[in-house]
C-alpha cells in the first residue's frame, strides 16, 4: 500500500480543464472581456496565485517547458513552489530562461526578454475588475462594460492630474484592449504596459479568488489610457542595473545595510544573469 499518489496531468481533473479551456476560448474570442469560471481548489490558498495555477494547469502538457516568476524572480518561495508543483503533477521540464520556455506563469511582471510566437504567458490577477475601486457593485460594472461606459475611469485619471499634476497609477494601469474592453493588466508596473501591445505571444489572465479569466490574443492592440494633453507615460529609470549594467529595464531597490544603503538591480533575474554572463564573456574575450 505504499504506491505513490499519481496526479492527473496538471493536477486538475479533465472535466475541470475542459471547463477552464472553454472559458479561455471565450476569453480569447472577446479580448479583454472577463469570463466567469468555476474556480477550483488547488493546493494553495486564495491570494497565492490560484487563478494563474488553474490556467496553467488547463493548458500545460508534458511537452511544455515551464518558467515561473514572482516579481521577475525565479527564485522566490512562491515561484519555486509553483514550479516544483508543476514539475511533479505535469511532469514537465522547467527552466529559468525566458527564451527556452513555452509557458511562463508570472506574478506582477513581464519578462525583459521579448516573447515569441507560440509562447503563452499566464498572469496571476488579484482584482480583475479595473473599475472595482471606483464602483463597488459588480452588477453595475458589468453594465458599464456592456455599454462601453468608461467615463468613470477617466474621472479617476482626471482626479489624479488635478491632485498631483500627473496620473498617479504606477501599477495595474488600466488599458483598452482591441479598442473595446477596459482591462486590468494585473499589478505589473506601468513600465511593462507597452510590452502587452501587439505582442506575438498569447497572454492569459487568471483570477482564482474572483473567479474570472480573460485574455489578449497575439498581436492585439493594448492601449494604456490617458488624455490627449496628459498621455500615458511609462515609468523610466535613469540608472542601469548595478549587477549586469543593463539600462532600459525595470529595477528593484534592494536595501543592503542597516544604514539604509540601497542598490538598484534588475527585477528580472533571468535577464540579469544572462546579461552578466554575456558581459563577463565579453570581458574575457577582450582580455
Amino acid at each position: 500500500m505504499n504506491e505513490p499518489i499519481t496526479y492527473n496531468t496538471g493536477y486538475l481533473d479533465e472535466q475541470t480543464k475542459r471547463m477552464i479551456r472553454r472559458a479561455l476560448l471565450k476569453a480569447v474570442a472577446v479580448p479583454g472581456f472577463q469570463v466567469p469560471f468555476a474556480s477550483r481548489e488547488v493546493p494553495m490558498p486564495r491570494g497565492w496565485g490560484t487563478g494563474g495555477v488553474q490556467v496553467t494547469a488547463a493548458v500545460i502538457g508534458e511537452d511544455d517547458v515551464l518558467k515561473v516568476i514572482d516579481q521577475g524572480a525565479d527564485d522566490t518561495t512562491n515561484a519555486v513552489s509553483i514550479r516544483s508543483f508543476f514539475a511533479t503533477v505535469a511532469r514537465v521540464r522547467t527552466t529559468t530562461r525566458t527564451d527556452e520556455a513555452t509557458l511562463v506563469q508570472t506574478r506582477h511582471r513581464i519578462p525583459e526578454t521579448p516573447l515569441a510566437a507560440g509562447q503563452i504567458i499566464v498572469y496571476q490577477v488579484p482584482v480583475p475588475e479595473p473599475l472595482r475601486f471606483l464602483e463597488p457593485r459588480e452588477t453595475e460594472t458589468r453594465r458599464l462594460h456592456a455599454l462601453e461606459d468608461y467615463g468613470l475611469m477617466y474621472v479617476k485619471l482626471y482626479e489624479d492630474i488635478a491632485r498631483y499634476g500627473h496620473i498617479a497609477k504606477t501599477y495595474d494601469y488600466p488599458v483598452l484592449v482591441n479598442g473595446r474592453y477596459l482591462m486590468a493588466p494585473s499589478p505589473i508596473p506601468s513600465f511593462d504596459n507597452p510590452k502587452m501591445h501587439d505582442n506575438p505571444a498569447l497572454q492569459l489572465f487568471g483570477a482564482g479568488r474572483e473567479k474570472r479569466i480573460y485574455a489578449v490574443p497575439p498581436h492585439t492592440s493594448v492601449e494604456s489610457l490617458g488624455f490627449e494633453d496628459h498621455p500615458f507615460e511609462p515609468q523610466r529609470f535613469d540608472r542601469p542595473c548595478e549587477i549586469c549594467g543593463s539600462s532600459g529595464v525595470y529595477l528593484d531597490e534592494v536595501i543592503t545595510d542597516d544604514a539604509g544603503g540601497a542598490v538598484f538591480v534588475c527585477s528580472d533575474t533571468d535577464h540579469c544573469e544572462r546579461a552578466s554572463l554575456a558581459g563577463a564573456e565579453d570581458e574575457e574575450a577582450r582580455a
Binding site: 461606459d149 468613470l152 474621472v155 482626471y158 488624455f227 490627449e228
Partner: protein, 259 residues
C-alpha cells in the same frame, strides 16, 4: 396649434406596485422650453410619475413618447437599456432631491462636472477642466473650489453642483425631484432664481416635482395637480393657483402658509 412638436407625450400612463397603482391614467404633453410642475402631497403619485417618465420605473400601462434631437419619436417603454443610457448621456438630466444621490461625493467638483463629458468621449484634460470651470461660474460656485469634494460644500452649493453636472452636456429635458426641499429658505430662493435663468438661457424643458406651490408659481409655466395617483387638475400655473377648480386644488391652495 402649429409650432414645434411636443417633446414628451404621455397617454394613460400608470405604474403598479403589486396590486396598487402608484399613478394611473396620466395624460400630459411637454414642449421644448417649457417648465411643467407636478404638485401634490405625499402619496399623491407625483414621484411615481416622475420615475415613470424618467424611465426609472416600468410603465405598467399607457405610453410615453419622446422626440429626440434628431426628430425621431421613441416609445420609451420599448427602448433597450443602451438606448436609454444614451439618452441620459446626451439629452436628459435628473436633479435629485438629495444632491448626494446625484453626485460622486468623493470626486472633486471639477471631476463631477467633467464626468458626463468624459463619458461622452472628451479626452483633453485642459478642455474638460475649462468647461467645468465655466459651469461652476454659471452656478455661482467659486472657481477656486473646483478641486474640492462636495462633502465640503453646503447643501445649496451641492445642489448647484448637481445642476451644473446635469447641464454640462446641454440636455433638452431635465427632471427635477423636489430640488429645493431641505434647503434654507434664502438658499431656495437663490436656487430657484438660478434655475429660472438657466431654463430661459438654454431653452430647457423641465418636469419638476414639488409639494411646494410657491416653487411651482415661481418657476413653472404649467402645473399638474395630483392626488391618489391621478391628475386632478392641470393648466396654466397662475390659473391653477389663482382660480382652482377642483375641490382638492382649492384645499391645497388655501393651505399655503401666508406670512
Amino acid at each position: 396649434m402649429s409650432g414645434p412638436a411636443p417633446l414628451l407625450q404621455v397617454r394613460g400612463a400608470g405604474h403598479r406596485y403589486g396590486d396598487r397603482f402608484g399613478c394611473r391614467d396620466v395624460d400630459l404633453d411637454l414642449w421644448p422650453g417649457e417648465v411643467l410642475a407636478v404638485v401634490g402631497e405625499s402619496g399623491s403619485g407625483k414621484s411615481t410619475l416622475l420615475g415613470v417618465l424618467a424611465q426609472r420605473l416600468d410603465l405598467t400601462e399607457g405610453s410615453v413618447r419622446y422626440r429626440t434631437a434628431e426628430d425621431e419619436v421613441l416609445e420609451l417603454g420599448e427602448l433597450s437599456e443602451s438606448a436609454v443610457r444614451r439618452l441620459w448621456r446626451s439629452e436628459w438630466g435628473f436633479v435629485h432631491q438629495d444632491a448626494a444621490d446625484g453626485l460622486r461625493m468623493h470626486v472633486s467638483a471639477g471631476g463631477n462636472v467633467g464626468e458626463p463629458l468624459m463619458t461622452n468621449g472628451w479626452r483633453n484634460y485642459g478642455e474638460i477642466r475649462a468647461v467645468a470651470s465655466e459651469w461652476l461660474r454659471r452656478v455661482e460656485i467659486p472657481e477656486d473650489r473646483i478641486d474640492d469634494h462636495p462633502t465640503t460644500f453646503s447643501g445649496g452649493m451641492r445642489q448647484r453642483l448637481q445642476i451644473a453636472r446635469n447641464l454640462v452636456v446641454s440636455p433638452r429635458l431635465v427632471f427635477m425631484d423636489e430640488p429645493t426641499s431641505g434647503l434654507d429658505v434664502s438658499v431656495q430662493a437663490r436656487l430657484l432664481d438660478l434655475l429660472r435663468t438657466l431654463v430661459h438661457e438654454f431653452g430647457l424643458a423641465v418636469v419638476i416635482v414639488t409639494h411646494d406651490l410657491a416653487v411651482a408659481r415661481l418657476i413653472s409655466h404649467r402645473t399638474v395637480v395630483m392626488k391618489g395617483g391621478r391628475v386632478i387638475e392641470s393648466g396654466l400655473t397662475d390659473r391653477v393657483l389663482d382660480d382652482p377648480h377642483a375641490p382638492y386644488t382649492q384645499l391645497l391652495v388655501s393651505s399655503i402658509l401666508q406670512g
